[in-house]
């Protein structure tokens, strides 16, 4: 169990920074420093473990949410106009949780941003959301009167093997409905693209024997192609929009379960098998 209490560890940033260090070491005067690269590889390994751990947690949460929302949407479809006040409030709160979420209860450890991080005591006082950005979008506060751009969701449907990028516009009720419906039906107006897992990370062919031995590891595991290692927004774009709101949603799961029947829960469509891909 890796304790990161002393500092917020952004797994993606760690991976980016570490790979950049390895890349830069190839052109450093005096040749590649074996010691430093070994230590960097330790950090890479830890970051990878963290990233994968968060990934699986995110996928699990995504699946849970999809199951719940699918059932709720099916119920809505049955009675689209029969919304009482309570349900409307629930829906709005659900969307609010989807967009902003309860930041204090987000999964992750409270800490400051990567650079210049203060002591844990200071970090707790920071207003900005401080959670694992490996799994969560940097979602801004979403209010009905303050539409804010939401990030994309890229989803791989296991049945059709189609990757869909759901682009959400301004966040308001209709948009959320559209997003949810679009996500549900995998018929978003967003782009469709083939899954491309080719690695075009960096040319590692010229490394020394130590680095060459790591080449295979890197090619298998790191499949993003952005030469600008510090730009994690592309990675963020690949991760579920709903991640930040899941905790809020999960807290409401008990209420939703009361609404949905067991039968509805059991009727999981193809969409519920979709996973977030990267």
């Amino acid at each position: 169990m890796i304790n990161t209490m002393e500092c917020a560890v952004d797994a993606q940033s760690m991976i980016s920074i570490s790979l950049m260090k390895i890349h830069n070491s190839r052109t450093q005067r005096g040749g590649i420093k074996l010691h430093k690269n070994l230590l960097v590889s330790y950090v890479l390994r830890n970051a990878r473990q963290l990233y994968i751990k968060e990934k699986y947690a995110e996928i699990y949460r995504m699946q849970q949410y999809e199951e719940v929302m699918t059932v709720c949407n099916e119920i809505q479809e049955l009675n689209p106009l029969d919304l009482d006040t309570e349900d409307t409030e629930n829906e709005e709160q659900t969307r609010a949780a989807c967009c902003g979420g309860d930041e204090a209860s987000l999964h992750g450890r409270p800490a400051s941003a990567l650079s210049g991080c203060a002591s844990p005591g200071d970090a707790c006082k920071e207003a900005e959301p401080s959670y694992y950005r490996s799994c969560c979008m940097e979602v801004s506060h979403c209010e009905p009167n303050n539409p804010t751009y939401c990030n994309k969701t890229t989803v791989l449907d296991l049945d059709t093997h189609v990757v869909t990028t759901v682009e959400n516009g301004y966040l308001h009720q209709d948009c959320c409905c559209d997003a949810l419906h679009a996500g549900q039906g995998a018929q978003s107006p967003g782009k469709k693209r083939k899954v491309d897992f080719e690695c075009c990370l960096c040319d590692v062919d010229e490394m020394t024997d130590f680095s060459v031995s790591r080449k295979r590891l890197k090619r298998e595991e790191y499949t993003y192609c952005n030469p600008d290692y510090t730009d994690t927004s592309n990675i963020s774009n690949l991760i579920s929009i709903f991640g930040s709101g899941f905790t809020g949603l999960l807290s409401r799961q008990a209420d939703l379960e009361q609404i949905c029947s067991k039968q509805a829960l059991a009727s999981l469509g193809a969409w519920t098998r979709a996973i977030v891909a990267f």
Partner: protein, 462 residues
Amino acid sequence: MAEVGDDSDEVQWCFSQVKGAIDEDVAEGFGPICKGVCLQRDADVISTVEFNHCGELLATGDKGGRVVIFQQEPESKNRPQCRGEYNVYSTFQSHEPEFDYLKSLEIEEKINKIRWLPQKNAAHFLLSTNDKTIKLWKISERDKRPEGYNLKEDDGQYRDPNTVTALRVPIFRPMDLMVEASPRRVFANAHTYHVNSISVNSDCETYLSSDDLRINLWHLEITDRSFNIVDIKPANMEDLSEIITASEFHPNQCNTFVYSSSKGAIRLCDMRASALCDNHAKLFEESEDPNNRSFFSDIISSISDIKFSHSGRYMMTRDYLSIKIWDLNMETRPIETYQVHEYLRSKLCSLYENDCIFDKFECCWNGNDSVVMTGSYNNFFRMFERGYRQDVTLEASRENSMPQSVLRPRKVSSGGKRKKDEISVDSLDFNKKILHTAWHPLDNVIAVATTNNLYIFQDKIN
């Protein structure tokens, strides 16, 4: 811990000298403010500091491959209480940049380590090494020269033999002191990886050199052959998990040496047991507290320096945040642990980003093994008095460079409230680091190397 300086009997450190370029002078005339490291010559960065066995000579090596030796002046009759100053004794270019054409790699000329040989005659000998090649240098004085040759004039021109009418015997006449440094041995082509340590054996005939994966044993007289005594290179480099970071011979037992690893382990080897010392005789390792396990645990546990005490009973290791004193008779844990800059533990992310987490701090013992010293950031250095469990933080800066001015202890505040005269963690300058320190073997004189300046401090003489 109580701070040194509170008790009037405790040592008070005073500024003595500073060597090297003044940062402000370098900055002037270069227009916009660009002080600090960016204007300092990279070649002038001090990379090693070492006193010789009697403390009379102090050698420094720099990134430019030069060695500068300072000599302590004899105590002045006018000021018998004051120790002599250290003045430049000899300067020479030890290593030059090289190029490995086979691997297309440039070999840095930076001097990684200097080790003095015990003095046997009037000349002084030292070993200096860069990443690949170790050299034995002889530093000798010449204060006489022969005069009165028959065939040559004193200026060296040949005389016309026809003008020679009588024979004379050349005699030695005094001349201005000249210090010559000449390379006597070059020990090359024995290391594939970067040399991190050299250590002279107590037998004064052999020495060891270690790189990331191997340790070689040399004879000082033989340059074309060395014996490999430790090899931790795995058959498959993909399995590499640990490398050698430092090594040293025991000060008294010529058969014993230790080497430290990137995983925080120390292995003591006995050369009598076998020719190859891959199997250690003792393994010193402290079990990690799982509660302290963090993202960067692997990095901060890597040992950057290892030093035997003068007595040979103890050894000291330096990792990124702490100093540990080990008793050679106990392998399970160190007998003492000193936190050098614990306030950095919450900054490890940033320190990883700016590469400071890879800084290799050295450590040293004082003459009677009662105090240990190491460097830190912001030009701070720390001393830990073992017996009294006291520690002090001092600063090497030009601001405190009045002769005989007493250094006042510094304090770093990690919490929210900062007292007067304290400096907050966020205000520390991580470009100003003290990696190399040395302690006079017999006296309370210390040499502290900042980036490109050498400070000499001594204790206040009442």
